[in-house]
């Protein structure tokens, strides 16, 4: 992955370099990790607005008269509950109930869905989805033909409104609409991965620079270019999970606190249902919880959790939370200790006490 020949450039690559980004390999792409200081980029999103190029994400359209039913069988959430212009967050499981990916599905029409999937899982997801689709339903990987730009933060709507030819206020949370943005036909969605209000824009590659430049121009001092570094600290504060770290095929949605995404009652059969029903009956063997470090140091993935010297779990995500000015983390604790109020976390050579909480760590004021 560190070989430059193996890392792909996103369509906005030149813009990132011009803007002084530090580019790092991430999920096969060369991506901006930061333009300035991560802490400042983070703060801008919480207090004003930030602009992210998240074109490394995978974008797949599924089309056909039976597209919705076909995708519904792959997902734990109820895709049939969507109406045009609405989106849902869901997980896609294997037969054992393990999480292949977590994704957002947008309903573009009665026979058309857009799936936004994790960059690192793109090939795996496409193979899995492709294998399950039956005649008349087709899938198109649009990742290379489109860009995805996120504008996030309390001033996102005000800034985007200057160049979007639609009433943004009427696009409520987890809804989307096709509209012209800086003259480019764009899918405007009120979604994101930061815990703030904001939008994600899906548009063709050849309109990317146009929209990117127009947003920077419209935002002026109120809009800060943001890299993947603060995207991670923002999502962690908001208690949003990261596939490959907090969840993967060895974890199930019930232990990950994503039981609300599994619609046992509303849906018929779906891949993983039987395994997940067994988990539901028996109870999960562990539970994802949040940690706020009480001493000095920073939590990192892989650190062990202990209670009275006994190993009880492990940190899956951790870091410094700029808004909270504390070190926070997510991780799984064994069932019998899942309700503990405190846990010891082994930071390299020290054991430090942490408060056990339920994520999110940060909730924006409405």
């Amino acid at each position: 992955m560190s070989e430059s020949s193996e890392t792909k450039k996103v369509p906005l690559h030149e813009r990132h370099v011009e803007q002084g980004a530090r580019m790092v390999p991430f999920a096969g792409y060369s991506m901006p990790v930061k333009y300035g200081k991560i802490k400042e980029e983070h703060r801008s999103v919480r207090t004003s607005a930030g602009l992210f190029d998240v074109s490394h994400m995978g974008r797949v359209e599924v089309r056909g008269p039976e597209a919705i039913d076909a995708v519904n069988r792959l997902m734990t959430n109820d895709v049939t509950a969507l109406t045009d212009g609405r989106a849902i967050y869901t997980v896609m499981c294997n037969e054992q109930g393990g999480i292949i990916d977590d994704l957002v599905i947008y309903r573009l029409g009665e026979d058309r869905l857009l799936l936004c999937i994790n960059a690192a899982n793109r090939q795996r997801d496409i193979a899995h989805i492709g294998a399950a689709l039956t005649g008349g339903v087709e899938m198109e990987d649009q990742s290379d033909q489109t860009v995805q730009i996120a504008i996030q933060g309390p001033k996102a709507e005000e800034i985007l409104a200057k160049i979007a030819d639609t009433d943004l206020e009427s696009i409520k949370f987890f809804r989307c609409r096709k509209a012209d943005v800086a003259g480019v036909s764009t899918l405007v969605a009120r979604t994101g991965y930061t815990g703030e209000d904001g939008f994600e824009l899906y548009l063709p590659v050849d309109g990317g620079e146009e929209v990117f430049d127009a947003l920077l121009d419209a935002g002026g001092d109120e809009l800060t270019l943001c890299g993947l570094g603060c995207r991670d600290t923002l999502r962690l504060e908001a208690g949003l999970l990261l596939h490959g770290q907090d969840i993967d095929e060895s974890t199930n949605p019930l232990e990950a606190g994503l039981g609300w995404l599994v619609k046992f009652d509303a849906k018929g059969d779906f891949i993983g249902r039987q395994a997940l029903e067994e988990v539901r009956q028996q109870g999960t063997s562990r539970k994802l919880r949040g940690f706020v470090l009480q001493g000095r140091g920073v939590l990192r993935p892989g650190y062990d959790l202990q209670i009275e010297g006994e190993a009880v779990g492990r940190v899956t995500s951790g870091g410094y939370a700029p808004t909270l000015e504390a070190s926070i983390g997510l991780g799984y604790i064994d069932r019998e200790f899942a309700d503990a109020d405190t846990v010891d976390i082994i930071l390299r050579r020290r054991s430090v006490s942490a408060k056990v909480v339920d994520p999110p760590f940060y909730k924006r004021s409405k």
Binding site: K34, K37, T233, R296, G297, G319, R350
Partner: protein
């Protein structure tokens, strides 16, 4: 990118610097390049005063928003002073890596070890490798 490298300092391959205080002690910190690579530093774990350190062994930790990095002793000896200012202001390592962001002072047990470190020119070419 060009990074500042003071002429009179000596460097390790792990990007620690030493300044010879001329009294058998060296001041130790991390280089401009190292702090830049780490990004916003949020915590420095310092050794205890009086701790005995061995050359090339880890004696502390620097945590940034992005990542964690061990500190390796450039020379063997005893920690005779720690920069307590870093406890409340770890960002000094970013802002002033060669001066106010110093980390420890070590009383050397073998001053000869200093000559094994890279001088400024050596470190400059090491960085451009």
């Amino acid at each position: 990118m060009d990074f500042e490298i003071p002429d009179n300092y000596r460097f390790t391959g792990d990007h620690e610097w030493t300044e010879d205080n001329g009294d058998g002690t060296v001041t130790v910190g991390i280089s401009h390049h190292a702090q830049d690579a780490l990004g916003d530093i949020v915590f420095v774990e310092l050794p205890a005063l009086g701790a005995v350190v061995e050359r090339e062994e880890d004696f502390g930790v620097v945590e940034s928003v992005k990542t964690v990095s061990d500190l390796y002793a450039p020379v063997s000896g005893e920690v005779v002073e720690i920069n307590e200012e870093l406890e409340d202001a770890p960002e000094l390592v970013n802002e002033s890596p060669y001066d106010r962001g110093w980390i420890v002072r070590i009383q050397m047990s073998d001053a000869e070890e200093l000559s094994d470190l890279m001088d400024a020119d050596g470190y400059q070419s090491f960085l451009s490798e």
